[in-house]
Symmetry: C2
Subunit: 306 residues, 2 copies
């Protein structure tokens, strides 16, 4: 096989209570990429469609991730990459992660799968760092593993695959405003109140337990963020309104997707997910802010070959 086309899905990091560690994978929105072997050694990006991103390998997240993988293999050929972006950069649903994860997944396939998923995540993390300024895997892990994931640590990189209750759907609203990840990080305090931290880890433990036993009520009550949301929601106009409307429409829980501005909800069943989408729409329709809506089941498999 000399060429492969893949779909690299959008992902939601943090999942309310699990700042920097939890994530899940979407199904209905993602980038496509074509990766092919070339006689010329090295990595080149030959096409980017959809959004204006750097073509220079070392400045492109996919390029840097590809280079990180290439360093670990001895081959007498190279790779060229075509990126068809559907996930808007800066939307908060893992746009840069999708590019970084997709390319290393594709290269691994073309090479006969010498690397496992954790190793691929490690390479992708190197790429993601170009966009976010630091190495995180909370969007990468769900893209590469699928389903819900927990990044236990980044050094060494340890990723856990959590179970996904089969009737779980996400709804995402992406208000078209710009929040830079670096700004979203800067707004967070360096220290937090111990009591809030306790609440947060009780919720993380409860959410993990709830996913294992498919207890939607427990999942719902665990989907709370008392640490990050109070700060970051200030960056997202009408966040409180959108959250309230979604919960009233039946969402299990609502939170900021990654560093925003996208807002996610988790829902039991596709019908509820669509009702929540309607609720999000009703809120943002009245604001003059443009927005996109996505409804997606939780994608249990992650990146797929097309």
């Amino acid at each position: 096989m000399d060429e492969i086309k893949i779909f690299s899905p959008a992902t939601v990091a943090n999942v309310a209570c699990g700042f920097d560690v939890l994530g899940f994978c979407l199904d209905t929105v993602g980038d496509e990429m074509v990766v092919r072997k070339t006689a010329t050694k090295g990595i080149s990006i030959t096409k980017i469609e959809g959004y204006d991103l750097p073509m220079e390998t070392k400045r492109n997240v996919a390029g840097v991730a590809a280079l990180a993988l290439l360093e670990k293999v001895e081959v007498d050929f190279g790779f060229e990459i075509e990126i068809y972006k559907n996930i808007k950069p800066g939307s908060g649903v893992g746009s840069s992660s999708a590019s970084a994860s997709g390319v290393v997944f594709a290269m691994n396939e073309l090479l006969g799968r010498p690397f496992n998923k954790t190793q691929l995540s490690f390479f992708a993390m190197k790429g993601e760092a170009v966009a976010s300024g630091s190495e995180h895997a909370d969007n990468i892990a769900p893209g590469i593993f699928g389903g819900f994931t927990l990044v236990k640590s980044t050094n060494p990189l340890e990723i856990l695959e959590l179970p996904t209750p089969h009737d779980m759907y996400a709804t995402i609203v992406h208000p078209q405003i710009e929040i830079k990840t670096s700004e979203a990080r800067a707004i967070l305090p360096k220290e937090i109140v111990l009591q809030n931290a306790i609440t947060q880890w009780a919720n993380v433990g409860s959410l993990v337990h709830g996913l294992h036993i498919s207890d939607y009520d427990l999942i719902s009550s665990a989907l709370k963020d008392v640490v990050v949301e109070p700060f970051r929601k200030q960056l997202i106009p009408y966040f409180d309104n959108a959250k309230k409307a979604a919960l009233e429409a039946g969402a299990l829980g609502v939170g900021i997707s990654g560093s925003g501005p996208s807002i996610f909800s988790l829902n039991k069943g596709e019908e509820t997910a669509h009702k929540v989408a309607e609720a999000f729409k009703n809120v943002y329709d009245q604001t003059g802010i443009e927005f996109n809506l996505y409804v997606s089941r939780i994608n249990p498999n992650g990146i797929k070959i097309l």
Copy 2:
């Protein structure tokens, strides 16, 4: 049934990463209690053996817990309580919890089980507050439910039963020094570094996942406390030595039991648990500090009728 005799086991709260929320139940050490119906209404404590504790109902944790339960039933009789304490107060393995939990468990049996385990935990929490100054359920929950528990919240009280891998044993060393719970709480900062909090909730999530899938390696790597132990270990002489020795002897993880001074380890298999006990012994034998050692499987059932 007019009289019941029960065994109320010692428990370990916090479990390294899960400060204030996680706990597990021991099997080989605990108090015995006899509770019987009396013609006289109200609660009276008629005997306490083992340690010198208040006989006055309203000043005794078992008495206060019993009163909290009694308030919720209409009966034309009362209860008297005999307490045979084996768990030294202030040891850090849930001495006051065992008294508070034991009495409400016993009364519930005599009354024909009108209350569920969470309700019993609620009553016991009222008793425990007499000893610790605030309402906590992290020792009560494992005593009443057995196994590993997670206190999701205390208001409203929500307790989750986590799975217990079948080959899990605890080793406890109790250096005979006094630490008051209130002092152990006062030494903690009100605020903690966000990065440490993230590490802690990654570990809580990982531990819960590890218990579900019986992954002893994961459990081992999750049993770390970067938030509380650095402060509280100063109150426990030779803590670092004991921890190092236990880990070298094969313990999965080591931490402070509750607010100390007891130190716990979790271990795969009884043989390792005994090796760890030997390692603890070797450390404290050289210090001149008296100590007790316990090896126990994790008790999956909690309080039991004798």
